[in-house]
Homo-oligomer: 436 residues x 2
């Protein structure tokens, strides 16, 4: 830390400084006992704004005042006051740093570079939260449809929506997929999505799927009177992802899907803010675990799955649910859903879509935990129903309707064959409340 002018840095935003000029990052950090955090924290702030590890001529007082990031909080856990126990090797901190918004501009790539850029390589430092000032968020359009917009398209306002992902994930022909689509739609799925593993494949193109599935959507609507959104996966390189979107819209798509972290946040934003794309966007979470799964490094799940895709304009975000196969802490799951929906300036709320090994038996718990403004995602839990996908979708709708009426599933199953079969097949295989 030699040479860093730490004492001249404010450790709190000075009185009179406008918090609306700063983006506040909160970090978990761990350092060996002997490292002086009082010097290290300001060093991190300087490193991620104006400075380098040595004082240089151009870093004037004026530059520092306006452009340097400021440490506004350092909290140790546990908070030693008298002495650090002799057997302690590492000490743990929560550090808050305020970054001048002007350094970043109203965009996501330079936000990431600033708040997790080089410090992502600097040791045990994990970004836990970001607080944005209004002027930053206002420059984003956010979800074009959001929860209410998607509900309006479907005409469904009073219950969770049901999503089915077509399985197998990839490697199937157009007609195999079309038949699965028809059955899931007939069974009552509100939204049907591609798996994240298939997009514009050589053996099964985006355009062909949209044309065929949307024809089926019309036929099912005529038969049942319920609309179905088909979120076609357009994930691809830049600029092909945009060509895929254009082709999908021209072919009549009523929704899109994108693997948002694999293609990049700014691709999601460009799609969401394109006024010629007048359909909702479902954002798939894959690859984000590589950023959030470590307790010591990377970026928290509720940012990766919550605040950031919402900022970039996702109408629905698929999130891993703790009821089934995904290892997710209940607290983190709820916090992610909260980040998708809480009041955030001008941004519409985004639909959380818990997914991963969900069967009808888990529906009451999902609704209890997150409320009715969710999309419930199920793949195999619909397609592998003993009575086939139509029955599988019906079983879910029955579970949703019963729960919304306050009827326990054990009672509801007496009236509903499909629900009964589902509950018999999947006797709460993983199912347990998440205890919140």
């Amino acid at each position: 830390m030699e040479g860093i002018d730490v004492l001249s840095l404010p450790i709190a935003l000075p009185d009179g400084v406008d918090y609306n000029d700063y983006i506040i990052g909160t970090y978990y950090c761990s350092f060996p006992k002997g490292v002086p955090v009082s010097k290290l924290a300001p060093a991190l702030a300087v490193e991620q704004s104006t400075g380098t590890w040595l004082p240089v001529p151009g870093e004037t007082a004026e530059v520092k005042r306006k452009y340097v990031a400021k440490v506004i909080g350092v909290y140790e856990t546990p908070d030693y006051e008298f002495e650090v126990p002799a057997d302690t090797s590492d000490r743990h901190y929560i550090i808050q740093i305020a970054y001048p918004e002007v350094n970043i501009g109203e965009q996501i790539p330079m936000l990431l570079t600033t708040v997790v850029g080089n410090i992502s390589m600097a040791g045990k430092i994990k970004l836990l939260d970001l607080r944005f000032p209004e002027k930053y968020v206002k420059a984003f359009r956010g979800p074009k449809f959001g929860i209410q917009g998607v509900r309006k398209l479907l005409g469904v306002f009073d219950r969770p929506l049901l999503n089915n992902m077509i399985k197998p994930c990839t490697g199937y022909t157009l007609e195999v997929g079309a038949e699965l689509f028809r059955q899931a739609a007939l069974g009552g799925c509100d939204i049907i999505k591609d798996d994240e593993l298939i997009a514009d494949a050589s053996f099964n193109s985006v355009q062909a799927r949209v044309k065929r599935y949307m024809q089926i959507e019309k036929e099912v609507f005529e038969e049942k009177g319920e609309r179905t959104l088909y979120t076609v996966n357009i994930s691809d390189e830049v600029p092909k992802v945009f060509e895929n979107a254009k082709k999908a819209i021209e072919a009549g798509a009523n929704a899109l899907m994108v693997n948002y972290f694999a293609v990049g946040f700014s691709v999601l934003r460009a799609l969401a803010e394109d006024t010629s794309i007048n359909v909702p966007i479902l954002a798939h979470m894959d690859v984000t675990g590589a950023m959030y799964m470590s307790p010591y490094h990377g970026v928290s799940s509720h940012l990766m799955l919550g605040k950031l895709p919402r900022l970039a304009g996702a109408d629905i975000v698929v999130i891993p649910a703790p009821y089934g196969k995904a290892p997710v802490l209940a607290d983190k799951f709820v916090k992610t859903a909260y980040n998708l929906t809480f009041p955030l300036y001008n941004l519409n709320p985004t639909f959380p879509m818990p997914s991963g090994g969900i069967t009808p038996s888990m529906v009451p718990n999902v609704i209890k935990d997150l409320g009715p403004d969710i999309v419930i995602g199920s793949g195999g839990g619909i397609h592998a129903h003993p009575g086939g996908p139509i029955a599988g979708a019906k079983a879910f709708r029955q579970a949703i309707d019963a729960t919304m009426k306050g009827i326990p599933l054990d009672k509801a199953k007496e009236d509903y064959k499909e629900l009964r079969e589902a509950l018999e097949k999947w006797q709460d295989p993983f199912g347990k409340g998440i205890g919140i």
Copy 2:
């Protein structure tokens, strides 16, 4: 794992299967002692290709044969043969999975979705390596210039290149930056880059910097006869990043820089494969640590910093060096440089640019460890020289020239004032060989 038809899956690619049809991913995994890896490994392979956690009707034998991913290796470390010690709680594995290339296509987003997608959230699983078949790599143009192309532009073939990053990182005016640029160029820097924290800022635009700095580049060339590449940071949202590139080229830029992971691999590829961009691209590493720093999760550094940006077309990649402030294992550092340069089908080698706290005293070790085909990056080590940036750059060039002639710095400093001053200021502050 209930219901997965694991026994029908080959655990090695069958004889007669063309390895050129597969991308092979190698993973580190850790599971509790009781988990049967013989079932879990194929389950992972199925999850990331055709399947889901339950058997579904569309997953036919034909679909499986052609599109399912195959486990081709499971190796335990240590390799227990007789019994697992009673005090073992977790067991550790290297697992290799072959993914049908047809599932992915010749692109990076669907590659990431397939090889690290949902399994990034599945527990302790880290992607260690990817082996690509020729047809996959051949669809990429790769580095347009590469090591030899950049050398030709500069007319420098027989020594490491010297790069300076302008410091302070951000918050300075055009004229402050221009003066630092002039001095670094006069001192002998071959390449001068923006810091990753400044791009097209409201207070200092890409276009203005390119025009001003390229004018200075011409003046310095007339004075000294040496060319200087200026890598202007165009990082931004899509599509603004492409507009920034266009404006930079129109303003006379002779090189570009992009924070490649913050903007997305496919943005880097689109820039590199755009034939109207006839200048080299320097790729900055920031944010990648969030993916690679955990020993248990994410994606290894030599993929994030090596093979993937090379595939996407980076001519130079900034990598954290173990000599200075970055905590990097020597093995990983060398492996990353190797991934940037080893023979890889049609791809040009990419310049590794070790960076982070490097001072002239470390030059002999850097060259000993990586050889002369590198760019040596220094920010504060140039600007904070007691004699100013011109002297700082001279000191580095003196250290490079002496080392290439086999003269120890302790001897060379007798003839070179700037080198002597640098060695006196930074008496090997962190400097040590990395012992390889």
